[in-house]
C-alpha cells in the first residue's frame, strides 16, 4: 500500500459524524511512561514501559447547525465521550479510537474572520487504541444485516475491544456485535464481550473481551434489529 494523505478520512465524536467540520487533527497520540530500572552494574540505561495514556486534539470549523461542531462540542460533558479517526471509509482500514474526557473548547476568531474551535480529549482508563474498521465508514444496516468480512491475518489469543458510534436509527432496537470466523465464510458467532448494548436511539460505547480471549482470524459486524429499521453506525475493532 502506498503512503497516503488524510484526504477522505473520517472523524466521529460520540453519535455525530463531524468529518465535514474537523479541519485538522493536531494529534492522535498514545504515550507510555518510561520506568528507569537501571541497576548499578549497567553502563547504559535500562528501561521498561509503564502506564499508557492517550490524547486526541483537533480543530473544528464553527458550524452552529444541529448535530454539527458547535452544539456537539460546546456541551463539555463531564462524562466520557468517544472520538474516532478513520483512515478512509473501507472496512478493514485502520482506525483509532479514544474514550475519555473533553478537557477544553477553545474558540479562536481570526483577524480574517475565521472561526475555529480547538478541542482536546484525554483518555480515561484506556489509551488511544488503533484497530480496523468493521464498517465502510458510516454504514447503513437495514433490519438484521452484516458488514463486510475483515481478515485479521491470524487468530489471536489476547482479547480485544470495540468502539461503536451509532449515528441514527429509523426504527426498532438494534444490537450490534462483532462476530468471528475461522475461514471467513462459515461458523460466524458473536465474540463474547464484543456485543454492544441494544439501542433504539443514537449512542456510543466501548466494549471489551476478557483478557486472553481467543478471537478467530476473520471478523465482521453483525446488526440485529427485529423492528427492521435502518441503523447507521461505525465500529472500530481493536485486536490485542
Amino acid at each position: 500500500m502506498p503512503k497516503t494523505s488524510a484526504i477522505g478520512d473520517k472523524f466521529f465524536v460520540g453519535p455525530y459524524d463531524l468529518s465535514g467540520d474537523v479541519g485538522s487533527v493536531q494529534t492522535v497520540g498514545v504515550t507510555r511512561a518510561l520506568l528507569d530500572v537501571t541497576g548499578i552494574e549497567q553502563s547504559a540505561y535500562h528501561r521498561i514501559l509503564g502506564r499508557a495514556d492517550g490524547e486526541m486534539s483537533f480543530a473544528a470549523w464553527h458550524n452552529p447547525s444541529t448535530g454539527q461542531s458547535h452544539p456537539v462540542l460546546d456541551v463539555m460533558a463531564t462524562t466520557d465521550i468517544i472520538c474516532s479517526l478513520a483512515d478512509g471509509s473501507t472496512a478493514g482500514a485502520a482506525a483509532a479510537s479514544i474514550i475519555g474526557k473533553q478537557v477544553n473548547y477553545d474558540s479562536i476568531i481570526g483577524a480574517d474572520a475565521s472561526y475555529v474551535h480547538n478541542v482536546t480529549v484525554k483518555s480515561n482508563g484506556y489509551p488511544v487504541e488503533w484497530g480496523v474498521m468493521q464498517t465502510n465508514g458510516t454504514q447503513s444496516f437495514i433490519g438484521t444485516a452484516q458488514g463486510g468480512t475483515v481478515d485479521g491475518v491470524a487468530q489471536s489469543t489476547s482479547g480485544g475491544a470495540a468502539y461503536l458510534h451509532l449515528f441514527s436509527i429509523s426504527g426498532g432496537t438494534v444490537t450490534f456485535s462483532v462476530q468471528d470466523s475461522s475461514d471467513g465464510s462459515t461458523g460466524w458467532a458473536n465474540v463474547t464481550g464484543l456485543a454492544f448494548t441494544a439501542a433504539s436511539g443514537t449512542t456510543f460505547e466501548r466494549v471489551a473481551t476478557a483478557a486472553g480471549a481467543t478471537i478467530k482470524r476473520y471478523t465482521r459486524l453483525n446488526g440485529t434489529n427485529p423492528g427492521g429499521g435502518t441503523a447507521v453506525a461505525f465500529v472500530n475493532f481493536v485486536r490485542y
Binding site: 494523505s5 507510555r32 547504559a44 521498561i48 488503533w130
Partner: protein, 137 residues
C-alpha cells in the same frame, strides 16, 4: 572517504512481535541522540574543570508519512499503547555511505497529525531499554 549525506538510509524497527520491519520508505527524517552523563569531579586544587563520563543513553526520534500498509510504519507502532511493558524493539539504522547503529529500545509514544492541507504524518520517540549502549559499527 568524502563527507556524505544520509542518502540512502535503511531503518529497521521490530514490531511488537519481535520481527524486524524495514520502514525506511515511511521515514522522512530522524535523529539519533547518543549521550553520556557527566559528573563534575573538579577538586578545589584544579583551575579548570575535571569530569568523568557516566552512564550512556540513546534516543531515536522518527518522523514519517502515514502508511497503513502491511508490516510498515503503522503496523510497527500501532501497538505502542497496548504492548507489554517489558517488550523491547531492536532498532537498526544503516547508512549506505557507511555506519550502522543498533540498539534495543522502547517506544515512548506514537503520534499522528493531520494537517489542514490533508497531510498525515506520524512521529515516534524510542528510548534505550536494555542497559546496553547503542553500538556503532
Amino acid at each position: 572517504m568524502a563527507k556524505s549525506s544520509a542518502l540512502t538510509t535503511t531503518i529497521t524497527i521490530d514490531d511488537s512481535g519481535g520481527t524486524g520491519r524495514d520502514i525506511s520508505a515511511d521515514v522522512t527524517n530522524f535523529s539519533i541522540n547518543t549521550s553520556r552523563g557527566e559528573q563534575d569531579i573538579t577538586g578545589l586544587d584544579k583551575s579548570a574543570m575535571e569530569r568523568i563520563l557516566l552512564r550512556s543513553d540513546t534516543t531515536i526520534s522518527l518522523s514519517g508519512v502515514k502508511d497503513m500498509g502491511t508490516n510498515l510504519a503503522h503496523d510497527v507502532f500501532k501497538t505502542v499503547g497496548t504492548q507489554a511493558g517489558t517488550v523491547t524493539r531492536t532498532a537498526v539504522i544503516g547508512f549506505t555511505s557507511g555506519g550502522t547503529v543498533t540498539a534495543e529500545m522502547v517506544p515512548a509514544n506514537y503520534n499522528i497529525t493531520v494537517g489542514a492541507d490533508g497531510a498525515a504524518t506520524w512521529s515516534v520517540d524510542l528510548h534505550l531499554a536494555n542497559g546496553t549502549a547503542a553500538a556503532w559499527t
